[in-house]
């Protein structure tokens, strides 16, 4: 197969991101310590260019490399979200890394490499590209989780993430190999054609489907494959945690839905039942265990597990609906993850901002009296918590509304009711944090620390997150339309 200009042009954003990552790695040793911020601005500029390139592609789908890569609206939607989140991560890292005394220029290189992996994941139309993208993302994230090298907690998080990540990749790859044997190809359209009309009891196909689902469940942090999440989210540097909780989850959902809808659509009776069970377990355990957490990062980790459960409702509904209607269920998942990105990133940004002068600032106790110490940060955190709990008129409510509606359309009203009950339970732990911020007195010693929002970069991050949460909560049409145009169709 010869490389053509068309192929290279199709993956231009990926090439740019990888080139920028290499440039950051190469420039890092020759950049004086005082000018390391320049590497961040270089990465940020790349994000802006890629955003323009990908936005221009929206609406003109094409495939490249003989079907290994597909650039359609679906992949453009995820990529736009990923650029946005990566841009926020870089901005958040600028002040945060100084606070943590992590002076690695490579950090931005890893962020960009992880991003390139995520981009390959969401535009891969072949199990080979999807697997490679997943690994590129995961390997970069293993390193990033352990970047606080002086902190044993960070290293421990890194090792746990690595072991369970490699384990899950092994399971995913074994599933892919069995699927290859069963369908005779690794290309998703060819798999869909090969398994069309197969008996759902085809044991090889069934085992392959289960193993691939398990592999992805680890990446999505779905119960019972979520064990690594709280440990890793708590131990990793907060900027990395925010990146993992939002970007890696979005990319995993992107690849996961493409594999199951475009490739394994013929098995949807089986997988929708499987995901129904996973989804119920995730909703129940994620929300219940979050109730007893004392560390905010850990609580948000369980919250992110629970949110994966809410998003899975849409996937279950897509498997149950008629092919013509499944598209709306898939777009509800995309919408959910996009809105979840704003509120979760905002919440982690507040935690990053509380890290001051060696104080960790991620225990619930550290938030006591925040409203007195920094009313503005407390107000923002209040909005993010209200949105995570799904209370109108915030973005979190819109996301839940569309996902629950797709469940009702699919005849799963009881599931929507169950999810609603657990959303009400989740309000307890989100609002408990608000209560601590507003009702308790500041602890002695932590009182009246210097100004919190000490950097313009952090202000931009918080402004973007809060604008997304409030704007899309009040006027969701733009993002709903975007998700509707970008959805996958079940064949």
């Amino acid at each position: 197969m010869m490389l053509s200009a068309h192929d290279l042009f199709a993956i231009l954003p990926e090439l740019l991101v990888i080139f920028a990552a290499c440039a950051v790695l190469a420039l890092d040793p020759i950049t004086p310590a005082a000018k390391k911020d320049g590497l961040a601005w270089l990465s940020l500029g790349t994000m802006a260019i890629c955003m323009g390139l990908t936005a221009a592609r929206f609406g003109s789908p094409t495939t490249a490399f003989g079907g290994l890569v597909v650039i359609d609206n679906y992949s453009c939607f995820w990529k736009l979200l990923l650029y946005f989140v990566t841009g926020l991560t870089i901005l958040l890292s600028l002040p945060y890394l100084k606070e943590e005394r992590i002076y690695f220029g490579e950090y931005y290189g890893f962020v960009l490499l992880a991003l390139s992996g995520m981009m390959v994941m969401v535009s891969g139309a072949d199990l080979l590209t999807i697997y490679l993208g997943t690994e590129l993302m995961s390997i970069s994230l293993y390193i990033m989780a352990g970047l606080k090298r002086a902190d044993a907690k960070s290293l421990e998080a890194s090792v746990k993430y690595f072991v369970l990540g490699a384990f899950s990749s092994g399971i995913l790859l074994y599933g892919i190999s069995l699927l290859y044997g069963s369908a005779g190809s690794t290309q998703l359209p060819a798999i869909a054609a090969a398994i069309a009309g197969r008996s759902p009891d085809d044991s090889l196909l069934l085992i392959a489907t289960i193993l691939i689902a398990v592999g992805f469940s680890f990446k999505l942090a779905v119960v019972p494959f979520h064990m690594w999440t709280p440990d890793v989210y708590q131990g990793a540097p907060t900027s990395v945690t925010a990146f993992m909780a939002v970007a890696s989850k979005a990319a995993s959902f992107g690849a996961f839905m493409r594999v199951f809808v475009e490739g394994l659509g013929g098995m949807r009776a089986n997988w929708s039942l499987m995901f129904l069970l996973l989804c119920m377990g995730t909703l129940i355990l994620g929300n219940i265990v979050a109730l007893v957490q004392t560390n905010v990062k850990r609580m948000l980790a369980y919250s992110s597990i629970a949110h994966a459960g809410y998003a899975l409702i849409g996937v279950v509904a897509a498997g149950r609906l008629a092919p013509t209607e499944a598209a709306s269920a898939i777009s509800s998942v995309m919408l959910y993850i996009a809105l979840y990105a704003f509120m979760t990133f905002g919440a982690f940004a507040i935690i990053a901002l509380l890290r001051k002068g060696g104080l960790e600032g991620d225990e619930i106790e550290d938030f006591s009296g925040l409203a007195k110490r920094h009313p503005f940060a407390a107000l923002l955190m209040l909005v993010f918590m209200v949105s995570l709990a799904g209370i109108p008129p915030t973005a979190g409510f819109i996301g839940k509304f569309y996902v629950f509606m797709s469940a009702v359309h699919a005849g799963l009203t009881w599931l929507a009711v169950l999810a609603l009950v657990f959303a009400a339970i989740s309000a307890y732990f989100y609002l408990r944090l608000v209560m601590v911020m507003y009702m308790r007195e500041p602890e002695a010693g932590t009182a009246l620390l210097p100004r919190f929002v000490s950097s313009p970069a952090l202000s931009i991050v918080l402004a973007c997150a809060i604008a997304g949460v409030v704007f899309f909560g009040l006027y969701p049409d733009p993002i709903v339309n975007l998700a509707t145009q970008a959805t996958l169709t079940l064949k």
Binding site: L128, Y131, E156, A166, G170, L173, G181, S185, T186
Partner: protein, 101 residues
């Protein structure tokens, strides 16, 4: 005489399960890493066997990529383990208890 495909599948299933059980019960992190490698190699047996069976080269191409990824993964994994060993003087996973539910 050709060897039936099922023989390969049984072999790879045995290797895969050995690795899977190894990850779950071993306590030395190097042994866990070895077990993960067993799982990945079981996959490679599958790909090559299916590739031969289906007369399709795609499976063999996949093996090359899987090998490369496994090598990259081990390189990063060992580096993380060395960093942890320096910090904690142990590679027994039972001792990694700073983060707990």
């Amino acid at each position: 005489m050709t060897i039936p495909i099922t023989y390969y599948l049984v072999l790879s299933a045995i290797v895969f399960l050995t690795g899977l059980v190894g990850v779950l019960i071993r306590r030395n992190i190097i042994a866990i890493l070895l077990s993960v490698e067993l799982m990945l190699n079981a996959t490679n047996i599958n790909f090559v066997a299916f590739s031969e069976h289906l007369r399709d080269l795609g499976g063999q191409v996949f093996v090359f990529f899987a090998l490369t990824v496994a090598a990259a993964e081990v390189a990063v994994g060992l580096a993380i383990i060395i960093a942890l060993h320096r910090a904690k003087d142990t590679i027994d996973v039972e001792q990694f208890t700073l983060l707990k539910w």
